[in-house]
Structure formats: structure tokens, C-alpha cells
Amino acid sequence: MKDDRNPGKSVLHPEDAKVDPGRRWVNTLLGAGVVATVASFIYPAIRYVIPPPVSEASNLSVVAAKVGELKENAAKVFKFGSTPAILVRTPDGNYRAFTAVCTHLGCTVQYRSDSHEIWCPCHNGKYNLQGRNVSGPPPRPLAQYQVHIQGGDVVVVRNT
């Protein structure tokens, strides 16, 4: 507190300055030891709480539906890897597949047969049948997946 009057003369508080330099050295060593110990506890704990990565194949192929299961102007949400995806059958009978995870805040979208849109109920975000974000808060289009008809199956494929 009195240091302000003698700037530059001593950075130590008068009481701390009384401490023997050898003792101060021991204190520094002890402090460093404590810090190192605490770090050796915190490090494993932090590594522990970070979940191990779940390895997911970058190439993914899922049977989303049977041919004829979906009527025109209808859609279904299915499990695609670890996230939901949506298979839409457009009013003209084509199949399209997108991720069902809204690009706004991650809600799962649904198909609106009345307005022919993909709609997110959480914040009224809307995507057209190309997956483009056309209205509401979503910042990006929905990622599109390839759709193949193999035998009687509608197969959705992601290649990255």
C-alpha cells in the first residue's frame, strides 16, 4: 500500500520483504510443486470428460424405404448413421433425400404436404424441395444425399 509513494524502489510489500530469500525460494519451489500436482489431476480429468470419438464411416448407405412405401407428396424420417435424414417423394413422384437436421439450431425437420415444403417446427424455418432455405432463420440449405433404386429398395447414399 505504501509502495505507491516510492515507485520503483520495491515491488514487495514491506511484510513480504522481511521474508528470508532462502525461505522465499523454498516457498516458490513448494508453490511450483503444488501447481504441478494440481495440473496432473486436472489434465486426466479434462481428457476424461472429453468423450472418445465415435468412428463413423464417411461412406454411408442405408435402405430408407421400400419402393411403393411412400406415396407421392409424402416423406419419412429415417436413421442415417447417427443422425436423422428425410426421404421426400415429391408431388411428381421423384425421390429426394436430405439431412433432417435443421441448419438453424439442429431440430429435426418434417415434410409439409399442404405447402410442399420441408418445415422446421422449432422456429418456423422453411426449405424448398431442393433443400434450399427459403424462409425463416435457417442460414444454410440442407445437405442432400443421393438416392438409388436397387431392386425393391430405396437406398440413400452419402459419399464424402
Binding site: D3, H13, T37, P44, R47, Y48, P51, P52
Partner: protein, 361 residues
């Protein structure tokens, strides 16, 4: 820096009454005599309990309390999660060390007659904490859902069924049904992470408050010598002198725990199969061995009473007497009564050690 520290402390002092807290902390002094070493055990048990709380919280982040997920989730912790083997091994080792320390703490307090007036309630709260610690051990043992744990729980809860009149009710309550199933696992999980910690926290607060308020007890022998002037009446402040010594001990305990966890990681065993046979050589954790061995020695019928019921009654009665011992041994000094109680303690300790050894070898 130093200036900032002082100003912060002053600021806090003004608002929180730091002097009162300091006075409260400084009030307790730890007597120095040839038995001072035993005063470290309570603090050591408390430290290991804190380790249990911290590692337990970490384990909760991955553990799944269901018959289909429990074993797999512990396996995941042990093999996939970074340092998961370390956290779980420390939790298991620390649990066992804590129970051991609590046993030694209890017997040292018993033989030093520290339960005598005015510390009767400290003893009673400590005994209740002891039972809670055993319940922690029993409930936690099931959680990995491995074969050993499954059968230990089956036998342990089955024994509760021998209690007259309410036995079956206790058994069904503990198991969450008639058999040990996933419902039992969920229940034990609830006991282990919510019910027991809640009760333990309250009891611990009471126990520590009493210790802080009443201070440390000096054994009657030493007290007598101090009175007669044969021994100096020496003591050190608990805060910070004794606490710093405590911390040295804790530091050592951490080293031991880390070494044990690294050299002997805790086994997981095989997943429980409710419809498989019990493996040969099955036995409970070491701290229940003396009861297990006693039950083995008891014949199935003693006069008209079931052997299990007799054993249960025996341990029930002895346990209850042990809790209220400060009120029985109230003539502490150098009377014959108190020698009798010391002898009783020696017998109990000997009984536990001998029967445990018989079970192991």
C-alpha cells in the same frame, strides 16, 4: 499482487466476518502425546471420501444404470475413455482404503475411550457414518453388473429376508422385486449416488461440527499423567499446524492410490448372467468376510432358530450395543467396568481379524 490479495481478504472479511471463522478454526487445538498419530485417521477418511465424490461424479458421466448397459458402459470407461481406467481404479481402491481407514479410526477411538462424556454423540454419528460407508460399499459393488457382484447382491439381499416379520418386505424393497434384476441395479444406483450421499453429507456435517466444537479427546491414561504432572500438557493449533500435517498425509495417500491404480487396475470380470451358475470360490468384499464366515460356521438350525436368523440377530444386537457403548461404558476412568469394555473391543477386533483370515485362507 500482495496488495491485491490483502485488499481482497479485507473486502471479504468486512462482509463475511472472517474473524469469526478464523476464531472458530483457531479454537481447536490438537493435543500432542504418544497417541497423536491416531488423530490423523478421521481426516484421512474424510479425504478419501472427497476422492470418492470427485471420481464418482466423473464415473457418472459415462455410466448407464441398466442391466443391458451397465457392464458395457464400465467396459467402455475402462477401454475407450481417456484415463477412464485410472478414474475407475482410483474409485475402487479409494473405496476399499476408506473402509479400512474407517475401521481403524473406529477402533482407535474405541480403545482411546474418546467416546466418553461429552463426546457420546460424536461416537453415535460416527457409527452411523460407518454403516453408511458399508452401505456405499455394498450398493456400489453391484453397479458394474458383473458375475461376482450379481451373486454377492443376491446373497446379501437374501439374508435380509431372514429378518422376522418384515424380512421379506425389506428384501423386495432392496431388490425392487422378488429377484435381483435390472430393477435392483437401478435401485442400488439411486441409493449409491443420491440417497446415501445425502445422508452421509448431513451426518458428516454433524460429526465434524461436534469434533470442532468439543475438540480432540485425550486418552484417560494420558489425561491422568498430565493431571499428576508426569507428562507436559502440550498441544498444537489445528489450523494451520495440524491441517498442514494432514495435507502431507493426504499427499502421500494420493501417491499410494495412483500407484495402486496403475499397478493393479481394478478388474471388471465377466458380465452377470442371471440364469448362470454361481462361480466357485464366490465371496463378498473383504469387509463383509467376517460375517460371511460366521454364517458358514453356523449350522442350519440352532435349537428352533434358523442359523442365518441367529447370525443376523447376533450381528444386529452386537452392532446396536456397539453404537450405544458410550452410554454403557459411562464409568470411564480406571474402573473394572471400563476394562471389561476394552476387553470386549479386543475380542471384537480379534474376532473380525480371525474370521476374515479363515475366510481368505
Amino acid at each position: 499482487m500482495a496488495d491485491l490479495k490483502r485488499r481482497t481478504l479485507d473486502w471479504l472479511n468486512e462482509r463475511m466476518g472472517g474473524e469469526d471463522i478464523e476464531a472458530f478454526l483457531r479454537h481447536k487445538r490438537v493435543p500432542i502425546h504418544r497417541h497423536t498419530i491416531w488423530y490423523y485417521l478421521g481426516g484421512m477418511a474424510l479425504f478419501l471420501f472427497m476422492i470418492q465424490v470427485l471420481t464418482g461424479i466423473l464415473l457418472l458421466m459415462y455410466y448407464r444404470p441398466s442391466a443391458n448397459g451397465a457392464f458395457e458402459s464400465v467396459q467402455f470407461i475402462m477401454t475407450q475413455v481417456k484415463f477412464g481406467w485410472l478414474i475407475r481404479s482410483i474409485h475402487s481402491w479409494s473405496a476399499n482404503l476408506m473402509i479400512f481407514i474407517v475401521f481403524v479410526h473406529m477402533f482407535s477411538v474405541f480403545f482411546m475411550k474418546a467416546y466418553r462424556k461429552p463426546r457420546e454423540l460424536t461416537w453415535v454419528s460416527g457409527m452411523l457414518l460407518f454403516f453408511i460407508v458399508l452401505a456405499f460399499g455394498f450398493s456400489g459393488y453391484l453397479l458394474p453388473w458383473n458375475t461376482l457382484a450379481f451373486f454377492a447382491t443376491k446373497v446379501g439381499t437374501d439374508m435380509a429376508g431372514f429378518v422376522p416379520i418384515i424380512g421379506n418386505w425389506i428384501k423386495v424393497f432392496l431388490r425392487g422385486g422378488n429377484e435381483v434384476t435390472g430393477a435392483t441395479l437401478t435401485r442400488f444406483f439411486g441409493f449409491h449416488v443420491a440417497v446415501l450421499p445425502g445422508i452421509a453429507t448431513l451426518l458428516l456435517a454433524l460429526h465434524l461440527l461436534l469434533v470442532q466444537k468439543l475438540g480432540m479427546s485425550v486418552p484417560p491414561g494420558v489425561e491422568q499423567k498430565i493431571k499428576e504432572g508426569k507428562e507436559p500438557n502440550r498441544s498444537m493449533p489445528f489450523f494451520p499446524n495440524f491441517l498442514l500435517r494432514d495435507i502431507m498425509g493426504w499427499y502421500g495417500a494420493l501417491g499410494v492410490l495412483g500407484a495402486l491404480a496403475a499397478i493393479f487396475p481394478w478388474e471388471l470380470g465377466t458380465k452377470a448372467n442371471p440364469f448362470g451358475s454361481a462361480p466357485a470360490g464366490i465371496h463378498p468384499e473383504w469387509y463383509f468376510l467376517f460375517m460371511f464366515q460366521t454364517l458358514k460356521f453356523l449350522p442350519s438350525k440352532v435349537f428352533f432358530i434358523d442359523g442365518e436368523l441367529l447370525g443376523l440377530m447376533l450381528f444386529g444386537v452386537v452392532g446396536a450395543l456397539w453404537v450405544i457403548i458410550p452410554f454403557l461404558d459411562c464409568k470411564v476412568g480406571f474402573s473394572r467396568v471400563t476394562h471389561f469394555f476394552t476387553g470386549l473391543g479386543v475380542f471384537a477386533l480379534g474376532f473380525i481379524i480371525v474370521l476374515s483370515c479363515l475366510a481368505i485362507f
